[in-house]
């Protein structure tokens, strides 16, 4: 399972990347996409939607499963990866890069509940 260094991770298998001041990019991990199988559809939120930590803001669907994507942070959605509309398979092919889902402008910088790449790697061993 590929765990990209330099990113932060959640127990629900999302990754978080700081892209600029106060803005983070969010997606699901290689482990998550592998569990789901071929992604067939991504339910994307609207721009400017408010999200709260722990709330689901998107759904990633495969043929046999649908997985809620939970926001690891609180803020406002400022970008949505519309490429996923036509090419949901990007999540399978490039989960950390072209398969990103949203960008959120944070209310405050609070990454206390997030894991480092090493911590996530250990976590995966238990799962």
């Amino acid at each position: 399972m590929d765990v990209k260094s330099g990113l932060m991770y959640t127990k629900d298998h999302e990754w978080v990347k700081e892209v600029s001041d106060n803005v983070v990019r969010i997606g699901i991990t290689d482990f998550a996409q592998d569990q789901l199988g071929d992604v067939v559809f991504v339910e994307l939120p609207e721009l400017n939607t408010r999200v709260n930590k722990g709330e689901a803001f998107s759904v990633v669907e495969s043929v046999k499963a649908a997985s809620d994507v939970y926001s690891p942070v609180t803020g406002t959605i400022v970008a949505v990866n519309t490429e996923l509309e036509e090419n949901p398979e990007l999540i399978n092919e490039s989960p950390y890069d072209r398969g990103w889902i949203v960008e959120v402008k944070l209310d405050e910088l609070d990454f206390s509940d997030l894991m480092t790449a090493k911590e996530y790697e250990s976590y995966l061993k238990e799962v």
Binding site: V40, F41, E43, E61, S62, V63, K64, A65, A66
Partner: protein
């Protein structure tokens, strides 16, 4: 024992393989006090030959549409059913198959459903139809729930002149999800939705407007202004339609409906005391497709490039989404949908048009004959295959009289609204002949 192949010897052999000596050993997990000590109190079994005679006796206690000429409608109709349909639906491969979860050995059922979806979508002039619902009433309720889900709103408007039983089902489904149903009344003279009641503030809060076309009284609504009104407020237009009528009447898609529902029992299925029937559910717009309840079949290819069919978009459904599913529906009405598909294939575009045309003409003929006989018609709206007759008569007594003469009369409207006690709902389908209509009119004339 009926239908059980095992001989006692075979049972013993099998028990021995399990290290057991008697059947009771299999049920040790059931506590002694829960095990029945007596046989169930049910009637003694009847051998097949006796059974047929017995059931025939019960069946004979029912007056049926083979022996009586029916002008009774109100949600179920005596339409012509081609003979060949049951021969095809009784084929064991269709009759005894389950839901097509193993697609490779269920291509028959899957392809048939794909045809049903296509023909219903075409007939209703909508983009996508699902594999069927239980009936029109539950399809309407699910449409309202879907509209609320899609818009995020908690209020729906429903025409008060929809079938009262459908309105009751709607209410049962919606009130438990804290969704308010606002009834839009109908005009006493036309019998149509009272357009004056379409308030310009209400539509901002509504998830949808539910309109029957035709309505319960058989009348044809002026849908355009209603469509404009509901959409102006951001809500969906849901139309409940008679699929046979779409042979000549404007289809929901042509009105810009977002969701079209109805009962397709009239397409090749017997009345069967109200069930099994089959509901249909069709939508416009890809956003709505992914929120549709029920099964959907899609076309794809196998690994050798051969075209095949599978259940698709299953992540909407209960077996994957569980409590987040768009609906709890699992078993639907597949065999009845198959009958409807065969009907549409046999009648075809010309035949369905003719059925609808004959319904309109025969209903109009009945209506004009009754007017000539001095009866009044309640409601001025144009009608499809039903209309409301008005007279100061006890319609129950009239129906008893008609019964003595071999006719099933219309539905007395006192059973839905005491203010309509002087009225009866009469249906005339393509199955009725001029002679039957003339005789019926004559009998009614004698009642006055």
């Amino acid at each position: 024992m009926p239908y059980i192949p095992h001989t006692t010897a075979e049972q013993q052999e099998m028990l021995a393989a399990l290290g057991m000596t008697q059947i009771a050993d299999l049920f040790v997990d059931i506590a002694e006090n829960l095990r029945l000590k007596q046989p169930l109190n049910l009637p003694a079994p009847l051998a097949e030959h006796e059974l047929v005679r017995y059931m025939r006796q019960i069946a004979k206690k029912n007056i049926n549409l083979d022996d009586y000429v029916s002008f009774l409608g109100a949600g179920a109709y005596d339409h012509i059913i081609p003979a060949v349909i049951t021969h095809l639906t009784s084929r064991g491969e269709f009759l005894t198959a389950y839901t097509p979860y193993q697609a490779e050995i269920s291509q028959g059922v899957l392809q048939a459903i794909f045809e049903f979806q296509t023909l219903i979508a075409n007939l209703t002039n909508m983009e996508v139809a699902n594999a069927s619902m239980y009936d029109g009433a539950t399809a309407l309720a699910e449409a309202a729930l879907m509209a609320c889900n899609v818009t995020g709103r908690h209020k729906v408007a429903a025409a008060a002149n929809l079938d009262p039983d459908w309105l009751e089902v709607l209410s049962t489904y919606l009130e438990n999800q804290d969704i308010e149903v606002i009834k839009i009344g109908y005009h006493p003279i036309t019998g149509l939705i009272d357009q004056a009641a379409l308030s310009t503030t209400l539509n901002q809060e509504l998830a949808c407007m539910l309109v029957g076309q035709p309505n319960f009284f058989g009348g044809l609504e002026d849908v355009e202004p209603i469509a404009r009104w509901i959409k102006a407020g951001g809500g969906l237009l849901v139309m409940a339609v008679d699929p046979i009528s779409l042979g000549i009447l404007k289809a929901p898609g042509e009105y810009g409906a977002d969701i079209a529902v109805g009962d397709a029992g009239c397409l090749g299925n017997p009345t069967s005391f109200g069930g099994p029937s089959v509901g249909f559910f069709a939508v416009n717009g890809s956003k709505l497709v992914r929120k549709m309840p029920g099964r959907i079949v899609g076309q794809t290819t196998d690994k050798n490039g051969k075209i095949g069919y599978v259940l698709t978009l299953q992540t909407r459904e209960q077996h994957i989404r569980r409590e987040k599913a768009t609906s709890n529906i699992c078993t639907n009405q597949a065999l009845n949908a198959l009958a409807a598909t065969i009907y549409l294939a046999l009648l075809g575009k010309q035949g369905v048009k003719q059925v609808a045309y004959q319904c309109v003409q025969k209903t109009a003929y009945m209506r004009s004959q009754l007017l000539d006989a001095g009866f009044r018609v309640r409601f001025t709206a144009p009608v499809f295959k039903e209309f409301v007759l008005q007279a100061d008569l006890d319609w129950d007594k009239v129906n008893d009289y008609l019964l003595e003469h071999g006719f099933l009369g219309g539905f007395p409207l006192k059973y839905v609204d005491v203010q309509l006690a002087d009225s009866v709902l009469i249906a005339v389908t393509e199955a009725r002949t001029k002679a039957e209509i003339d005789q019926f009119v004559e009998l009614l004339r004698r009642c006055r």
